[in-house]
């Protein structure tokens, strides 16, 4: 999505089938790096510490106990409720995203353990149409929270999204209402929701489910906020500070609980969850 071009954040394809070169150049520091070393280092440049994008699968693996994941997503894919066509038909856009990511939608949902604590966890895939929240993502998030209620375990959502899936029109907007509604039920059932925000968490996702965590943990280097830099500059032409919508900005303004580097995120999540173990029983 063009909105994010202003930041030098980029993705490295680590999939060997698509790109079999062993080396890559870090666009941040310019160093030539052995790709396997990057992969083993959570997609962080070993020289300058730049974070490269993690796919949803990589993100999931980086957070949960090895081999603990079981997919519990519903077998659903995007419809085309508005028969929407911009520069290409929406179904084609979805298909291309499916091919690109190997995922049916912009979210993975499953049960897993984190530091041996059972959780239901959703992880958004930014490479799937900007991680935008359409009907499928909204449904999977709600299904996840309902499964958490049924299994009596915490719900964890790792966000990475540009916001609403515009191609689904009003239905995408209403996913904000839908996820907030079921989030209320999770709270009523006395189950914790840990919201993990990663680069980027904006728009409709930030203005709904991602902001409703009992605890909100941000990955260092994230971007979190409602209206993107470009929206503000084109609508009201306001000068924005350099740290606009950064983790530092969100923490300073009281919008998130904690900021933690990628390498510490797994432990951080386990620590956060550990406080709720007794309460959930």
């Amino acid at each position: 999505m063009a909105i994010f071009k202003d930041r030098h954040y980029f993705r490295v394809k680590l999939d060997k089938d698509r790109d079999d070169s062993l080396w890559m150049r870090c666009k941040s520091c310019g160093e030539l790096v052995f790709k396997r070393r990057v992969r083993e280092n959570n997609n962080i440049c070993p020289y300058c510490g730049e974070y490269f994008f993690l796919t949803a699968r990589e993100r999931l693996e980086s957070l949960i106990d090895e081999g603990s994941f079981v997919d519990i997503s519903r077998p659903i894919v995007a419809g085309d409720p508005l028969e929407f066509e911009d520069t290409k038909p929406y179904p084609q856009r979805v298909e291309e995203a499916q091919e690109k990511t190997g995922l049916p939608s912009a979210i993975i949902l499953g049960q897993a353990t984190v530091s041996s604590i059972p959780v239901v966890m959703g992880v958004m895939e930014f490479q799937f149409i900007g991680g935008s929240m359409g009907s499928v993502m909204g449904e999977q998030i709600c299904h996840g929270m309902e499964e958490a209620i049924r299994r009596r375990c915490p719900f964890v959502l790792v966000s990475s999204s540009g916001g609403a899936r515009i191609q689904e029109g009003i239905f995408s907007l209403l996913q904000m209402a839908k996820t907030a509604t079921v989030r209320g039920q999770l709270a009523a059932a006395g189950l914790p929701f840990i919201s993990v925000v990663t680069y980027p968490t904006t728009g409709g996702v930030q203005a709904s489910i991602a902001s409703l965590g009992d605890v909100i943990i941000a990955e260092k280097g994230t971007m979190i906020g409602f209206a993107g830099r470009r929206v503000i500059q084109t609508t009201i032409a306001e000068e924005l500070p350099k740290n606009y919508q950064t983790d530092e900005f969100a923490l300073a303004h009281g919008q998130i609980d904690r900021v933690i580097g990628r390498e510490g995120l797994r432990e951080e999540l386990g620590d956060a969850l550990s406080f709720f173990v007794e309460a959930v029983r």
Partner: protein
């Protein structure tokens, strides 16, 4: 609606003729009648098949009735409550108590300005975090005392700006959604003009969602969609059509409950009739909601929003 100016011109001419008829003593009544019929026919032709983009323009019309206009006619004794108790008093979102046919209700109204000065004060109708938090206050108050909530929705969107972000506008919207999903009192939202994305939804999660015939409600403005998806600002008309943002479309899609008819040419052409139609619908809908217990209302609201979305289920 290139025709609107022509129509208005004709209307003025008729008025002038009528004046002339009175003062000059020349009998022009047949001529006037002829012109009036012609005007009516032209109006019908112009407005019977409004394109989606034309409805967007009507929803944003400079003379369109705003929340305070409706508050003045739907209710008696509007008693405004100011401020979010934290940071300020948003003039783009008003809250207060009022009486609807003698009954105490809580009112939320997103308010645009008419003059430049007023628009400055009201941020062109764009709600800021102070506004959403003020709405939250009135929602909680309503819930404590059993007042039904009537929310008049009219905003281009939440105010995008540094100050909004510093005050966590996204979080404020999210908190409102959470609250509106679970309050015990009956809630009715009416989109009277522009239902601009999350900025509108934040006060529109309700038991019943009504729309005036020429109001629009969308995840993004046609201009925004054109810029992001088509990468061409000129494609706004196409975007307006693609988004299905008009009241008739949204009724058909099953996301709103009722469309309140407007006179030809829009609500501003006959505000009293529009307001009367809206009031009749409000009373009817509220009566239906009153018949349910709080538990049943919450259950129905939950089912309604839990079920929002369209997707394909894979076989097997």
């Amino acid at each position: 609606m290139n025709d609107e100016r022509t129509l208005d011109l004709l209307e003025t001419k008729i008025r002038e003729l009528r004046e002339l008829n009175k003062t000059d003593g020349i009998d022009l009544s047949s001529e006037i009648e002829r012109l009036e019929k012609k005007l009516e026919a032209m109006r019908e032709e112009a407005y019977a098949n409004l394109s989606d983009w034309e409805r967007v323009k009507l929803a944003r019309h400079a003379q369109r009735p705003y929340a305070l206009d409706y508050i003045g006619t739907l209710f008696t004794d509007f008693f405004e409550l100011h401020g979010d108790r934290i940071a300020g008093d948003d003039r783009a979102l008003l809250t207060g108590l009022a009486r609807l046919e003698g009954r105490s209700v809580a009112v939320i109204g997103q308010q645009k300005g008419r003059s430049t000065q007023e628009n400055k004060e009201r941020y062109f109708g764009m709600t800021r975090p102070q506004g959403y938090r003020k709405a939250r206050r009135i929602l909680e108050l309503a819930d404590r005392f059993g007042f039904p909530v009537i929310s008049l929705v009219d905003t281009p969107g939440a105010y995008p700006g540094l100050e909004s972000e510093e005050m966590n506008i996204g979080g404020a919207i999210a908190e409102n959604l959470l609250l509106m999903a679970r309050i015990r009192v009956p809630t009715i939202a009416v989109v009277i003009g522009e239902g601009g994305s999350g900025g509108a939804l934040a006060v529109a999660l309700a038991d019943r969602v009504l729309m005036l015939e020429n109001a629009v409600y969308s995840v993004i403005s046609p201009e925004g969609a054109a810029a992001i998806l088509w990468k061409e600002k000129e494609r706004t008309k196409e975007a307006a059509a693609a988004l299905r943002l008009t009241a008739p479309h949204l009724l058909e899609l099953g996301v709103i409950d009722e469309v309140i008819p407007e006179p030809l040419g829009g609500a501003h052409k006959d505000f009293e009739a529009t307001s009367a139609a809206l009031k009749a619908s409000l009373l009817q809908q509220l009566g239906d909601l009153d018949a349910l217990s709080a538990e049943d209302r919450i259950k129905a609201r939950t089912v309604r929003y839990r079920g929002m979305g369209r997707y394909r289920t894979l076989p097997g």
